[in-house]
Amino acid sequence: MTNQRCKGARDSLPEDMERFRHIEDAFRRSCRSWGYREVRTPTLEYLHLFTAAGTLTPNMLSKVYSFLDWDGWSGERVVLRPDGTIPIARLYIENLAQEDIVRLFYVTNVFAFEETGKENRERWQCGVELLGNAKPASDVELISLAVDILRSLDITGVEIKLSHTGMLKALLKELKLSPTEEARLLIQILDGNWQVLTQRRAGNSDANRLLSLIFDLKGKSSGFLENLKALPQISRGLRSELDSFAEVTNLLDVLDQDYQIDITSTRGFEYYTGPCFQLSVKGDKIGSGGRYDNLVPLIGGKSTPACGFALYIDPLMNLVQPKAYQKTAERILVRGEIATPDVMKASLQLAQSLRESGYVTELDFSGRQPNSRWVVTIREKPPRFVVVDQAQNQKRETSAMGNVINIIGGSA
């Protein structure tokens, strides 16, 4: 058979969807109980929403699906949503900016071209955004919420890496580059090319030694940041960013939350301004987030501090084992012995009352091999109902529909 599926696209089969919904349900439940409200943004957005400097890096922009709409004669391009946060910032500006503090969550797909077609070009994520609060408590709230969601999914061994975009930017300033060179370096770093920075530390200047101290060692508590602050070559600008970073780590220390300070975990989004974090399990990235205080004003809103995170559903699907999936063996198959109107009517009635009693009930008139635990056969003549428990290898007959439910309920 020829493969007609688009390159880089994927089908989700019933098992996949069980896992997907399991993650989504846990995520929704946690977010709701923390006071977040669900929103959804359109799949299509204007390209220019993402081209304002400081939103997406040129490398990410070169992978967006952009095209002219049917009314695109003005040359205005639209894109398939390449990112979850920027559309939420737009939604906030257009609808919710009058509220003080806005807590939102969403489950969405994002699109990015991937050349080989072996990776997914459409990925799903669970996102959370907290707009209107500049306090480090809100960064910590998000980390705690993420941890809470992962715990409710029984995912263990989650590692949290912390970094700080403000600190990174201040560090680049220490290198005393031209503004163009500095901007270029930052873009390369955000695209994941840390070598451009780490190879600089070989020299013996103050700035280079500082780079060494920051890149080669990973911190495990606020103490690491305090140690850095105490260094003589730390400038004022860098110190204030370290202070902002330490406010978050201090709170996490109080909460006994384990983490690692790793400045090289900053990745991807140019819109991050402050503390950011990355979540992983055994080296696989499962989520990331951070503070983006400039994003709302950059796309035309008033100055609004904000932070958020996203959990990546695709890698999470390999880490969860939904209970609902394990229980599919408990299903009931109701089958008619022959397809007369009378037998079909009885089958439908029985299936309906079983469903009302909470059983997953499937109908069959084709005589296929059942793979469910219970099989109820409906005959034309009494006793009309034959109940077979395939797990126990037991068979019982009855003429009253009500008894069927009792038999199944009694032995479950």
């Binding site: 081209t51 400097a53 040129p58 952009s66 002219l68 049917w70 004669w73 040359g75 205005e76 050349e115």
Partner: protein, 484 residues
């Protein structure tokens, strides 16, 4: 029995147009002469007397990178600009740049008008508002707009005459020119150079890995290494300097676009008949900003293909183009404000579906049946009218097909490089000469006056537009009566 290895058959794609004289000269010197490789030739398929295993076909230069990338041709010669444009759109294209042939040197400039409001590249990202970029290279334009971090931009792809758009109808242009002096001659100023290059020999990646094309490359590189290179003397002439240039931003002026190319002579006749005396449009030297005996009308000469989009965007109020290009635009943008105002009666062509005469089908239904029965790979449809072809194939329930956009001389593609053409024809004679037959007529097209729905009505300018439309309609009536 022949002994030794037979040379691999090699297919070469050669350019028409600006690169033809120098390419023909280089090939002749190299011992790869194709006798019929001239601008005046009637045939597209070329054979070389000296090297019978090498065959060649002539293409529009723009078509060559795609033809080589998809593997229809092993080797091709075209400008670096078109190679980079394809790679900007499709980075994974299977192309290898083999040899810099050194002729037709030039640069791709991102430029603006000398008379415009932009003075440096740094101003662009800082300013709000949407930049209008007119270019024949939309792929490269998008890449560079993104890397320049323009907040907002609109790219208007054009078929040609890029230089005439700024400053009134474009803020920026991305165009190929030999050097800065050519740019100055066209009243343009370069903001940055995107690339610098010349004609290139390219190879299909698969052919490069599997076929022996070493002899051709060896011959060519020996010629390139020689001291005397007569083909370098055959470069295109420098750009003509525009003497009188008065940009006009007057709000009440009516902007009229008139066509170059095939439609130029009948359009000039028609304008005359309508009482519009256009200086610098008919006769020898084409002035792309000709003068008119009505001082409230500004005229520019642009490609008819580009007019509907330009009228839709308000860059021009009225334009003379073909029904074919109007429909191609409307099929792509059904809510476009462009509307037909008069049938001018001249420039009659039929838009037709064409197949090879060797194919045993009489109509499109037969063709569809044949394609369904016969093949697992998608149908290849070559056309200048991408949107008309798309609609036609949908309407006729042709299942799987791939469009090959071309820039003219589409008939050269059948039967080797396409299965079906959607093309225009006046008499059908050219098609017959190339062993092709028409299986369907989509519609008949003549020149039309088009305008923008949103700009008709009251106000001084609107009144002016209305009076111009009246003049066109009267002349058109005369035209149509003559014919009946």
């Amino acid at each position: 029995m022949p002994t030794g290895r037979k040379p691999d058959c090699v297919k070469l794609a050669l350019p028409k147009g600006r690169l033809l004289p120098a390419t023909a000269c280089l090939l002749g010197d190299t011992g790869l002469e194709f006798k019929e490789y001239t601008e005046a030739t009637r045939t597209y398929r070329l054979r070389s007397a000296g090297t019978p295993h090498v065959s060649a076909k002539m293409f529009q230069e723009k078509d060559i990178p795609i033809q080589v990338a998809v593997g229809n041709y092993d080797l091709g010669i075209c400008g670096l600009d078109w190679i980079e444009e394809l790679l900007a759109k499709y980075p994974a294209s299977a192309l290898v740049k083999v040899l810099d042939l050194e002729y037709n040197k030039g640069k791709l400039y991102l430029a603006t008008s000398q008379h415009g409001a932009i003075s440096s590249l740094e101003e662009l990202p800082a300013r709000h508002g949407s930049w209008r970029i007119v270019t024949e290279y939309p792929g490269l334009a998008e890449t560079s707009a993104l890397s320049l971090r323009l907040r907002r931009f609109r790219i208007f792809p054009v078929w040609g005459a890029t230089e005439v758009y700024p400053p009134e109808n474009a803020d920026l242009v991305l165009l190929w020119a030999r050097d800065e002096s050519d740019m100055r001659a066209q009243r343009l100023v370069s903001l940055t150079t995107l690339l610098c290059g010349s004609a290139f020999l390219i190879a299909n990646q698969e052919s490069w890995q599997t076929k022996d094309v070493g002899r051709i490359i060896g011959q060519l590189s020996r010629s390139i290494g020689m001291a005397v290179k007569p083909w370098l003397q055959l470069e295109p002439k420098p750009a003509r300097s525009i003497k009188r240039f008065y940009p006009d931003f007057g709000k009440e002026k009516v902007w009229l676009a008139i066509p170059d190319g095939h439609q130029q002579v009948p359009a000039a006749d028609f304008l005359n008949k309508a009482g519009l005396q256009v200086q610098g449009y008919s006769g020898g030297r084409l002035n792309r900003r000709p003068a008119l005996n009505l001082d409230w009308v500004n005229i520019k000469v642009i490609r008819p293909q580009d007019m509907p989009l330009q009228v839709a965007n308000g860059n021009f109020d009225l334009a003379i183009t073909g029904k074919d290009w109007l429909l191609d635009h409307l099929y792509r943008f059904p809510t476009s404000p462009v509307t037909e105002l008069a049938d001018l009666g001249f420039g009659e062509v039929r838009v037709v579906a064409v197949v090879s005469r060797d194919l045993p089908v009489a109509d499109i239904d037969g063709f569809r049946g044949l394609m369904h029965a016969d093949r697992s790979s998608p149908l290849r449809v070559a056309t200048e009218y991408v949107n008309i072809a798309d609609k036609y194939l949908h309407d006729n329930h042709v299942g799987r097909y791939r469009l090959i956009p071309t820039w003219g001389a589409t008939e050269a593609l059948l039967p080797e490089d396409a299965d079906l053409l959607i093309d225009n024809t006046q008499t059908g004679r050219t098609l017959a000469k190339h062993n092709l037959k028409i299986v369907d007529t989509l519609f008949e097209s003549t020149a039309r006056l088009i305008g923008n729905k949103n700009r008709l009505g009251a106000s001084t300018k609107r009144k002016r537009i209305a009076s111009l439309v009246r003049m066109f309609r009267q002349a058109a009536e005369g035209n149509n009566n003559e014919e009946n």
